[in-house]
């Protein structure tokens, strides 16, 4: 087991490295320069060129990548923090330390100061949404899958398909119309600041609701299919013909087996919730990770994009690892020694 986890951690490291190379190379082809975007459309070509030089953005790609890697590992000083560049980039942690993610050209702040707050905000949103998605999807999935084709099944299935097919922006607008404009019960934006009449909790309700509505139906469908399959297994017949009550059959014999296959899908939702909630964050002006990633990409803020990539890849690999471990715990036929 320990060897298995160690192996996965090595794999994580390799994946991180590969992903960072790919992101670096791809951002090379995105149009527009950081310098032009910083200075605005009315700056002269000379100004742009001078800033590009000072940002060392015209160095060859491999050099810039190796430099980024060196700064991250804390082997070299971040050249952009050199006062000689006149960029006024200053990281209170110093210019050389392990885990230095560089300086964000977009926010004019060290990446480490930007990204963790944003990630924390998203984690709150994602965590709350996930806490609702798990029980809701399990209840919907199990109830509809335990008697395929029954009235309950058809009702719940239709409901989850409909909810899942409504795009986030549509349900956002709908909910805002309902609870902000018609019945002014909730705030329309969620900047997560304590200003005004809206408490932090009230600011979270609508974004969480949008995410839950969008996502749980899909997971419920997965659990339903698995449940339908399990209910047809001979061992369920054995349990019924042992004389067990339907409740015991479901809870003791079907549930664990039915959760084996959808478990991975359930954990994949964590990835989606961390990096894929751009639309919701944008609609509610939520200062989250997804929105930051979008802005960084539009601006071409390579250090921020890289840092976000490392985080999302880590989240993805770790959830996969958790998925595999959970799979092993659920399914005694798969055990890795």
């Amino acid at each position: 087991m320990l060897r298995f986890i160690a192996g996965r951690l090595v794999l994580l490291f390799v994946t991180l490295l590969a992903a960072s190379v790919v992101v670096f190379s791809i951002s090379e082809f995105s149009p527009g320069s950081v310098a032009r975007k910083s200075l605005g459309p009315y700056a002269s070509q000379e100004q742009v060129e001078s800033l590009t030089k000072r940002l060392k953005a015209d160095d060859p790609l491999p050099l810039r990548y190796v430099r980024w890697l060196g700064v991250l590992a804390g082997v070299i000083d971040d050249p952009l923090q050199d006062p000689a560049t006149g960029l006024d980039f200053h990281d209170p942690r110093g210019s050389r330390y392990f885990g230095n993610l560089g300086y964000s050209t977009l926010y004019k702040m060290p990446v480490n100061d930007v990204i963790w707050d944003r990630l924390g905000n998203t984690a709150i949103l994602a965590g709350l949404a996930f806490a609702f998605i798990i029980p809701l999807s399990m209840i919907f999935g199990v109830l509809s899958g335990m008697r395929e084709g029954s009235k309950t099944d058809r009702t719940l299935s239709t409901l989850s398909i409909v909810l899942t097919s409504i795009p986030e922006f549509a349900s956002s607008v709908f909910l805002v119309t309902l609870f902000v404009i018609l019945l002014p019960l909730l705030p329309g934006t969620s900047p997560l600041t304590e200003s005004g009449q809206w408490s932090m909790a009230s600011q979270l309700i609508l974004p969480v609701a949008v995410l839950v509505i969008y996502d749980f139906g899909y997971v419920a469908r997965m659990i339903r299919i698995s449940m339908v399959e399990v209910m047809e297994k001979p061992y369920i017949r054995t349990a019924i013909l042992k004389g067990l009550s339907p409740r015991r059959v479901i809870m003791r014999h079907a549930l664990r087996n039915a959760m084996i296959a959808p478990f991975t899908v359930l954990l994949l939702q964590v990835n989606f919730l961390v990096s894929g909630v751009v639309v919701t964050e944008l609609v509610f002006a939520y200062p989250g990770f997804g929105r930051m990633l979008l802005e960084a990409s539009l601006f071409g803020d390579i250090t921020l994009i890289e840092a976000a990539t490392l985080i999302t890849v880590t989240v993805a690999v770790v959830t996969q690892l958790l998925g595999d471990i959970g799979y092993m715990l659920l399914n005694p036929q798969v055990r890795i020694d």
Partner: protein
């Protein structure tokens, strides 16, 4: 027996609904099971025997319901019982044992938890009491080390052990009746024998009544007191077991008996008599006698007029649903002796020398699937490989067919090299000469192509037909050879029955005019009557084309019936090989002896030789004889430490055993052996 029956089914009708359509799967079944009686229900798949059992349990699944009739358990009618009441009957007063124990047990619950449920739920026992009862019952079903078994998951024990767990589960609440639905399907012959012995001894101990469902007549003959033969949802004949097998009156029963191969007779002496046609679907039952269209004794204007009643014969224990029963219709005349229906032997055929196949085991170590095999068969002969699952017979088949390469040794056919260690791939010409028929006809035909497609492909790929017209003509011929209507060529596999699919598979294998055909358990998934037809067909084609055939099987009676030469394998090694006559008469290798004893008809349940334990793992094999750990005639330490010598009982008969030939020739009587007493 003056007591009331434990179970009494009266005029049971079961129908299934799907949308508006209704199908009467069971039109009428009535039967009684007395206390302590073992009642056998036999018939081909689709005859409604499992449905009848599930109706007793009140569990018919989606769309199924009891349309009319009564099911009395002692004196209460289960048809009218409420769901709550049914629950108190299931598992408590009626236990059930299913086919395929592997899928019957919950894979994510320990065996202990699954067993404990029964006494806790039904008998209201405390956990400690329940545990005591479970341990005692596990002793009853002869599980070694019950306490540790309870901790394990079903996949961690063997198939035979799994079935013993299911039997223990059925026994726990001491039910009055146990329903056994093909309890030995999918188990090896030796394991099957042990499980049947166990069922019989437990029945004696607890006086439980049994409803034993099987398609295997030999098994029913061993285990049951009374037998009902089911056909298309009705019982067509019912009689005490000796009466039924000795004096069967219904042509269907006679037909079923005639198509079962007998371990005592080879192909020179007896031809299997398949029943023509197939069992009608519930929606296409004919008027009058359901068996009429397939019956050789049917009389027009008599048998096809109105429904035939089940009539008690004069002696009152024998009932038959046949209008001509009183006339005493004769069973089909068995073709015996006379013409020697064997393909001519035409010189050098298959020659396998020093063949080994070694895999790297996932847990480390070496998995020896085939170990230094030397096997030969002359051209036109049928070589049968027998042994339990895991003995390496399928690996051997795959290597001959070219699906795998040997680790050592070589295989040649007719003097030409077919396969050799280190050589990958095979020339098209060699592929053409060796073809294979696989075990499961459902899985081997591509569901998205018509069944004619693989045959046309073979013809095109090997350049055997020049034009499209040629291909069509040859396909037509092949379908005629396997006696299928040509129109079926355009159908999808899902529209064909199992027997029809296997005929297609045979046509495909013979499409390239192969000289060697490897058949891996080709009929083990088919019903007896269909099996007889397919085997007869295979033998006909083989004889006609003088094809050499390697026939892999675990069914000794079938092997006896078709083989010229037999190799008995155990854990990758040949234990004994020789002509079919030599294998089936002494001297025997102790393993062959045990296999034969397991299927023997005469020894019934008086306890023949029973192998204990399971086949050991083929990883890191013992130095001595592979069979030593289970051998009932083990000599001593020599069997564990030294590989047995290969003794030649005749120029064609080899036995690998330490026991001198003289002793093998004269086996000691069973009673004198330890562990054989029951």
């Amino acid at each position: 027996m003056t007591a009331r029956p434990v179970l009494s089914i009266r005029n049971l009708q079961v129908e299934f609904r799907s949308g508006e359509a209704r199908t009467l799967v069971v039109p009428e079944v009535s039967l009684d099971i007395m206390p302590g009686e073992s009642y056998g229900l036999v018939g081909e798949s689709g005859c409604g025997k499992t449905t009848t059992a599930l109706a007793v349990m009140g569990y018919l699944g989606k769309g199924g319901r009891i349309a009319s009739g009564n099911i009395f358990l002692e004196d209460e009618d289960l048809v009218k019982a409420s769901p709550e009441h049914l629950r108190s009957v299931r598992g408590r007063r009626i236990g059930m044992v299913y086919q395929e124990p592997a899928s019957t047990l919950n894979p994510t619950m320990t065996i202990g938890r699954q067993l404990l449920e029964v006494p806790i739920y039904h008998l209201g026992m405390s956990k400690a009491e329940a545990r005591k009862l479970v341990l005692a019952t596990l002793e009853d079903v002869r599980m070694p080390d019950p306490a540790s078994i309870m901790q394990r998951y079903p996949h961690q024990i063997s198939g035979g052990q799994q079935q013993r767990i299911v039997i223990a589960m059925a026994l726990l609440a001491r039910p009055a009746l146990i329903l056994l639905d093909e309890p030995t399907a999918g188990l090896d012959v030796t394991v099957e024998a042990v499980v049947l012995d166990l069922i019989m001894s437990l029945r004696k101990k607890y006086g439980t009544s049994l409803l034993f469902i099987s398609h295997n007549l030999a098994q029913v003959a061993k285990v049951c007191d009374r037998v009902g033969v089911m056909y298309s949802g009705v019982i067509v004949e019912e009689a005490p077991v000796a009466e039924l097998f000795g004096k069967s009156r219904h042509p269907y029963t006679q037909g079923l008996i005639a198509c079962v191969p007998d371990v005592r007779a080879g192909k020179q002496h007896r031809t299997l008599m398949p029943i023509p046609g197939r069992i009608p679907l519930p929606s296409e039952r004919p008027g009058g006698c359901f068996f009429g269209p397939r019956c050789m004794h049917a009389v027009k204007g008599l048998c096809d007029v109105s429904a035939v009643p089940l009539v008690q014969l004069a002696d009152s224990v024998h009932a038959v649903r046949c209008l001509r029963a009183e006339e005493g219709v004769a069973p089909p005349a068995a073709v015996t002796g006379g013409e020697l229906k064997v393909a001519p032997v035409l010189g050098e055929g298959l020659s396998v020398t020093g063949l080994s196949k070694i895999y790297d085991a996932p847990q480390g170590g070496k998995l020896v699937a085939n170990d230094d095999l030397d096997i030969a068969a002359a051209r036109g002969e049928i070589l049968s490989i027998v042994g339990e699952s895991g003995c390496g017979k399928s690996t051997f088949a795959r290597i001959i067919a070219g699906l795998d390469t040997p680790s050592r040794g070589r295989i040649s056919f007719g003097g030409r090299l077919l396969a050799e260690a280190g050589r990958k791939g095979r020339k098209a010409a060699a592929q053409r000469t060796v073809q294979m028929v696989f075990q499961n006809p459902d899985g081997t035909l591509n569901p998205s192509h018509s069944v004619g497609w693989p045959i046309r492909r073979v013809l095109a790929k090997f350049g055997l037909a020049r034009s499209a017209v040629d291909v069509e003509r040859r396909t037509r011929e092949l379908f005629e050879i396997v006696r299928l209507p040509v129109e079926l060529a355009t159908r999808r596999p899902s529209e064909l029955s199992g027997g029809q699919k296997q005929r297609v598979a045979i046509a495909r294998a013979f499409a390239s005019n192969p000289e060697l055909v490897v058949a891996d358990e080709p009929v083990s998934a088919l019903d007896v009557s269909v099996q007889a037809a397919v085997v007869t067909l295979l033998l006909d084609i083989q004889r006609h084309n003088a094809t050499t055939m390697v026939f892999i099987s675990h069914d000794l009676a079938l092997v006896r019936h078709i083989a010229d030469r037999v190799a008995v394998m155990y854990l990758g090694k040949v234990m004994e090989q020789g002509t079919v006559e030599e294998i089936f008469s002494p001297p025997h290798h102790p393993y062959t002896e045990a296999l034969l004893s397991a299927v023997s008809v005469t020894e019934a349940h008086q306890g023949g030789i029973r192998l204990t334990g399971d086949t050991p793992s083929p990883v890191n094999l013992p130095k001595g004889c592979r069979f030593a750990s289970r051998c009932p005639r083990k000599l001593g330490p020599i069997c564990d430490s030294e590989a047995p010598p290969v003794q030649a009982a005749s120029p064609t008969h080899e036995i690998a055993c330490h026991i001198p030939l003289e002793q093998l020739r004269n086996p000691p009587p069973l009673a004198a052996r330890p562990g054989s007493a029951e």
